[in-house]
């Protein structure tokens, strides 16, 4: 018999993401994990600025819209005063890795006990598709019209690998939403990250390779294909820092 599948109550609302956007899948996975861990009524979101803030309207839970890039600092303040709550910083790549890289990296540096989910769609989605620190080499964006030139812009940032190799964090992984198989794996990563927090193991980060059909100017299906063919070879999926208990 098939498994019953129902969108968790805290996100069971119409969301205003573009057709084929990966945000909707990721937030559903987070909510499923929270439900399974009995944390869906014990939860505070620190939301980034960008498409991640579109979450706010549909999310039936405590959530604060943080200043651009600062969600990890806000989450730090929340967790320090209310350690019994589960805190999730939910941000995009422009928010977490460019304007907020200081706050993001320092939360990992301190091994702050919360979970960050970073949606990597290789551009600034909400502002119309500008280059971000995760834009691929040669990728055309509205601020890299000839394709990203890594000679002058640096190379795409691999944040989970960075924190896993440099800092003493609890859990770091990267998943993708391209297929049922990858989505199921991603859910395991998210669950691990949340469990690490609940057990007080420290900082957890899950980056998600997610499509942006609108700004990539690709169909939803071709966006998924692009992730499989172009992004995953550069941004490998998997766990970069395993939990100590596992």
């Amino acid at each position: 018999m098939a498994k019953a599948r129902k969108v968790p109550a805290i996100i069971d609302n119409p969301m205003s993401f573009c057709p084929g956007c990966g945000h909707g899948i990721v937030i559903r996975l987070i909510a499923e994990c929270l439900e399974e861990l009995e944390q869906d009524q014990n939860l505070i979101f620190a939301l980034g600025v960008g498409c991640s803030s579109l979450l706010g309207g549909g999310l039936v839970t405590d959530r604060l819209h943080c200043p651009h890039g600062r969600a990890s600092a806000v989450a730090t303040g929340m967790k320090r005063v209310q350690p019994e709550n589960t805190i999730v910083a939910y941000q995009g790549d422009g928010d977490a890795y460019s304007i907020g890289i200081a706050e993001t990296i320092n939360a990992a540096y301190r091994n702050e006990n919360f979970t960050m989910v970073a949606i990597n769609n290789t551009n600034y989605g909400m502002t119309g598709g500008q280059m971000s620190w995760t834009t691929m080499p040669g990728q055309v964006t509205t601020t890299s019209p000839l394709g990203r030139d890594c000679e002058i812009t640096g190379n795409p940032l691999k944040f989970p690998e960075l924190v896993a190799s440099q800092f003493d964090v609890a859990f770091a992984a990267r998943g993708a939403v391209t297929s049922p198989k990858n989505i199921n794996k991603l859910k395991k990563y998210i669950k691990n990250g949340l469990e690490a927090q609940i057990n007080g193991e420290g900082y957890s980060v899950i980056e998600v390779l997610s499509p942006c059909p609108t700004n990539w100017k690709l169909s939803p299906l071709n966006s998924m294909k692009r992730i499989e063919e172009e992004l995953i070879p550069y941004y490998p999926l998997g766990v970069f820092k395993e939990r100590k208990e596992n």
């Binding site: 019953a4 129902k6 969301m15 909707g24 899948i25 989505i183």
Partner: protein, 74 residues
């Protein structure tokens, strides 16, 4: 008995479910929902209630329940 429910109003016609359906049970309908998309429809004869559509859908269109244990439309 398993039941699949489609919240047509949430569908944005992205097609991810159709592409991943193992039994070709899904297709776009000819109707328009209030957002102007042609929502998905399920061919009950082909649907095996595997839940892959639920997994792939970014917009919470699908719900699968057993014997009315869970479900119902908005």
């Amino acid at each position: 008995m398993d039941v699949i429910t489609v919240k047509e109003e949430r569908c944005k016609e992205c097609g991810l479910c159709i592409a991943h359906c193992p039994n070709e049970a899904l297709s776009f309908s000819d109707r328009l929902n209030s957002a102007g998309y042609k929502p998905v429809q399920v061919d009950d004869a082909k649907c095996i209630k595997c839940g892959i559509c639920y997994t792939m859908c970014p917009d919470g269109v699908y719900e699968i329940s057993h014997n009315g244990e869970s479900g119902g439309e908005d």
